[in-house]
Amino acid sequence: MREHIRTIKTAMWLDYQITANWTRPITFFTYNIAKPVGASLLLLAMYYVVTGRIMGTMALSFIYVGNAFYMILGQVMMDLGWLVHEDREHYQTLKYIMISPSSYYSYLMGRAATRFLLSVFPVIFLLLLGLLIPIPYRFNYPLLIFTTLFGWIFMVSAGLLLNTITLLTARYGGSIGEAFAGLFYLLSGVIFPLSVLPEYLTKFALFLPSTYWFSLVRRSVLGVETDPFLSQLSLNLCIGLFFLTTLCFLVLSLAFYFSMDYLARRKGVLEMITTY
């Protein structure tokens, strides 16, 4: 266990260096915030052109809070999609990490943890910015902490699923990550209620942990779920479904990890260079 924790800590430190050491911390954190702010402003402008106002309604709160928290999910997915390619082809260190005595799964968890933590800062900034609109926050802190921590487990599982797939692919690292992030954005009721989707997509959305995660986010930040479809679920049921779907994702990611790792070693693609 101590070995795993040490690997996770080292991977977290490494990931921070890779992501942020190109500049001073203050510049990095400004950059880290600029993208999410840009995305939020885009949605605010869309809301403004339709309604002619920018003051807090529940519809606006729904969009704003969902989009702010999506920044964590989107960033983790997109960054993790690249991780294997980066290690294997750009830094050419994957083979060394693989033959080291530490667990590669722990290493990936550490890398994912840093991406998650770095994405939390823009969310905090956006939540503070939301006070200007103003978004009617009614925080349920225990629920928010639970949602964030379990959200991390779900995101790490989804991210690792991506990573293990890219162990076998020559390209598509970024595409697979973007596809995952895009699907979650479209199908989880992030910025619009699920009832707007065609019926078959709404049914599909109910199998995604992210759907329940965003519902829990709204319940813990706004104190209420405004999605007409998801508001029919009680809080306990929502937590239960989130827990269950996350567990499925975790099992799936572990199964993928072991099978893809086995196949990658068998095929000898851990050193694959495609100049990509």
Binding site: A34, G38, A39, A45, M46, Y47, V49, T51
Partner: protein, 268 residues
């Protein structure tokens, strides 16, 4: 002149052929933008926006495909070529660097057009977007000049990005969401107020989108920033300015490369 044109053709060739040789990329390039486009369309539906707003999203998605190509396929391309070891060959080749950039731009435009047409067809089919083109000739002219201005901007950035290290990568991602907002990707730019909209007009995408919205969705005229003819004129001026700046920066980059000797230094 002949060597210039040969270099343009030579550099455009791998991009055109590359698109055809890797058909699976085409799937990702069409499928991925459709996800975010669909999400934005559903936002407008949830807000009960007028139908033409859904068309704004499709149009924004099409033009964003070109913007992303300008960023990742033009602006950061020299930097990328440096990383993969091709840049020295371009510099040594008996052809000006401008011709290499022009070839990249033409090849990139071809590549992206296949993606843009697919987004247009799929987007209008999926969301039943109704378009009424009032002046096809002017629309085509604005579209082409807008592309020219965007790619000229990409050429200008390519020299600057080359001088930086990983900052180039970072700057590219910084030019995505904030630029989508400032250019009015999914909404009429006039909503940001005339001063902000005018300031944002140094990004060719802003004026191009505004003009095309007016010509494709006549009901959007009340949201227009300015007359499309004036926008065409400004876009033409921007093209010339960015091309001149691109040339100046290329020369500057070459000079710095020779004096400092760092132009081929990889950050890995």
């Amino acid at each position: 002149m002949m060597s210039f044109l040969r270099a343009v053709k030579g550099r455009a060739y791998p991009r055109v052929i590359g698109a055809l040789r890797e058909p699976s990329w085409m799937f990702w390039e069409i499928f991925l933008p459709l996800l975010s486009i669909s999400a934005y369309v559903f936002v407008y539906r949830a807000l009960h926006a007028p139908p033409e707003f859904e068309g704004f999203v499709i149009l924004g998605g099409i033009m964003t495909a070109y913007w992303l190509n300008v960023l990742w396929g033009m602006a950061s391309q020299f930097y990328w070529e440096k990383e993969t070891g091709n840049l020295q060959h371009y510099i040594m080749a008996p052809a000006p660097l401008e011709s290499i950039l022009a070839g990249m731009a033409l090849g990139g435009m071809f590549n992206t057009t296949t993606r843009a047409v697919s987004i247009l067809l799929l987007g209008t089919w999926l969301f039943h977007v109704h378009m009424v083109i009032t002046d096809p000739l002017l629309l085509a002219l604005i579209f082409l000049i807008c592309l020219a201005a965007m790619y000229a901007m990409g050429m200008m950035f390519s020299s600057l990005f080359l001088l930086w290290g990983r900052e180039a990568w970072v700057l590219n991602s910084l030019f995505e969401e904030p630029i989508y907002f400032l250019s009015g990707q999914n909404f009429p730019i006039k909503a940001l107020g005339s001063y902000v909209a005018l300031a944002a007009s140094i990004i060719p995408l802003t004026l191009g989108l505004d003009a095309m919205r007016q010509l494709i969705f006549p009901s959007s005229l009340p949201y227009a920033l300015m007359n499309p003819y004036i926008e065409l004129l400004i876009l033409s001026l921007l093209t010339i300015v960015y091309l001149i700046l691109a040339r100046i920066f290329l020369k500057k980059m070459e000079l710095l490369g020779k004096t400092k000797g760092t132009i081929l230094t990889r950050w890995l």
